[in-house]
Amino acid sequence: MSRQRTLAGRNYGPIYSYPMGIWFSLFFILPIAIIVTYSFMKKGLHGGVEWEPTINAYRQMFTSSYGKLFLRTIFVTFTATILSIVIALPCGYAMARSRHQTILLFLVIIPFWTNSLIRINAWIAILGNEGFINETLKRFGMITEGLPLLYTQRAVILVLVYMYLPYAILPIFTAMDKFDFSLLEAARDLGATKPQSMFKVLLPNVRSGIVTAIIFTFIPIFGAYTVPLLVGGKDSYMIGNVIVDQVTKIRNWPLASAFSMVITVVSTVGVLWMMGTSAREAARMKSAGVKQESGV
């Protein structure tokens, strides 16, 4: 849809929009540009960089010492994302069909808006050596010594799913809410089994919602910092933790910038995929929707 309106005789668009554009150019684009530049520079002695172009940072990043870190980050990210989506699909469906949508949205949004550290702290209190689960089991005499639940990779995955489940539920719910559920009944009437109607009618129709949910969980989990730091052990570090250590402790800015580039590129590719899916759906709806709109 293109709007061309200059009724008052003047185009005020730039006056309204440039302040934000300038703000983003200064405080978002410029910092990212600096990171890109720094990733191709030589490491300075005490932090900072020396203006000498090199690809050392990238070479260092792809040495074997960081191979395990990449594999672990990818494993944790994929596991947590897939779990979130698998749980979120039936949740979004149940919410979209429920008569108590506002209450359910409320219930999903409250934990989602509660401070992330408070939520992580709750899990530490539950999983810890003298935490809720261990103390309860001890009281009932089922164990005598605390189970090592916290500071494991499983704990990291569990808490990541906990933190990002609402990010998966909300877009799926939004997509399903727009779905016309009588299509499912039509499919059943035409002889489709229930799984068939789900997989061949419902899921393709909410595809862009699912893609959005994948992107909105995958990207923040891929760049997770707090969760691996607080509920993971030393061997559950992810890329985010290494970036922070490189900047604040080891002060190798080019290497930190190179790692940041990896996350930025992966995120951007994901976002383009999401936008592409939306665009295809828009095109499809445009060709299919002509009849529908003329009927209204």
Partner: protein
């Protein structure tokens, strides 16, 4: 370029946020009939379990905030940790003060800039329109660590000392995209012929802006403002990088409590913060769907 042309995916993504569902009346009746008979199903079970999963940790924390003893063994009811929280936690409250200052100032600036920009983008065509749309989308999707680190490196590259100012800039930056999107979603429902009428009746641009457009989209602006406040109050990762000495915010203080020895005061604080969140969500209940769509 992918963002040009009538099938602009970005535009579509935005319009999707506010689009009404294409259900016709009979279909909706059928849907309602279907709803009532199918109560216990796999999806409802998963939904219930998920809500329990989301709430149980918070419930445990709330219950144990009333525990007499320090650990996770129940020894009796006590309000001691609340007393300590409200009467004996000066550092915590001064960090909360910092949080409030930053939340209000950055939300105000973000709401002003974001609202103006969304009106401009929705109403006019001009150079860099696509640039502004795309750029405003990115900070929302990049992981917080990247935004934090890039700002930290930026501020030290241009020699700005870290402190309240840098936190303010960072918070404004990550709140802006949400304001922009939420107001834009509201503008999409807005009947623009009203503006044409205002212009025809001789209103100046400024009069149209403040007397017609802004009042009409006020609910959107208010929810965007409150959303910014919540996000600013809750942010830890980005703040962690751009804060300096003397600019500890509440999440930073909570982080140090979580990291270096857990005091049950944090449980009491959790309950207070959960109540605060519920109050804001209750206030925003009419916009919950819009918020769900813009997240």
């Amino acid at each position: 370029m992918i963002l040009h042309g009538p099938g602009n995916p970005y535009q579509y993504f935005l319009s999707r946020l506010s689009k009404k569902k294409p259900t016709s009346e009979p279909a909706r009746h059928a849907r309602r009939a279907f709803q009532s008979k199918n109560r216990i199903s796999l999806s409802n079970t998963v939904m219930t379990l998920s809500v329990l999963f989301l709430f149980l940790p918070l419930a445990v924390i709330v219950v144990y905030s009333f525990n007499k003893a320090k650990g996770m063994i129940w020894t009796g009811f006590s309000l001691g940790w609340y007393k300590k929280l409200f009467l004996d936690s000066d550092k915590l409250w001064s960090s909360f003060g910092n949080s409030l200052i930053i939340a209000f100032s950055s939300s105000l600036v973000a709401t002003a800039l974001g609202t103006l920009a969304s009106i401009g983008v929705n109403w006019y065509r001009f150079k860099a329109r696509i640039y502004i749309q795309t750029v405003s989308f990115l900070p929302m999707v990049l992981p917080e660590v990247i935004i934090g680190i890039s700002m930290l490196i930026f501020f030290s590259a241009v020699n700005v000392p870290l402190g309240m100012i840098t936190i303010f800039i960072a918070h404004t930056t990550f709140c802006l995209p949400f304001v922009f999107l939420m107001v834009l979603a509201r503008l999409d429902e807005f009947d623009f012929s009203i503006i044409e009428a205002a212009h025809d009746l001789g209103a100046t641009e400024r009069q149209t802006l403040f007397k017609v457009i802004v009042p009409a989209i006020m609910p959107g602006i208010m929810s965007a403002f409150l959303m910014s406040i919540t996000m600013s109050l809750e942010d830890f990762v980005i703040t962690f990088f751009v804060s300096g000495p003397g600019s500890t915010t509440l999440p930073l203080y909570v982080f140090s409590m979580v990291r270096y020895g857990i005091s049950p005061v944090i449980n009491a604080l959790s309950f207070v913060m959960i109540l605060g969140t519920m109050a804001i969500a209750f206030f925003l209940r009419n916009f919950l769907k819009n918020i769900a769509a813009s997240k």
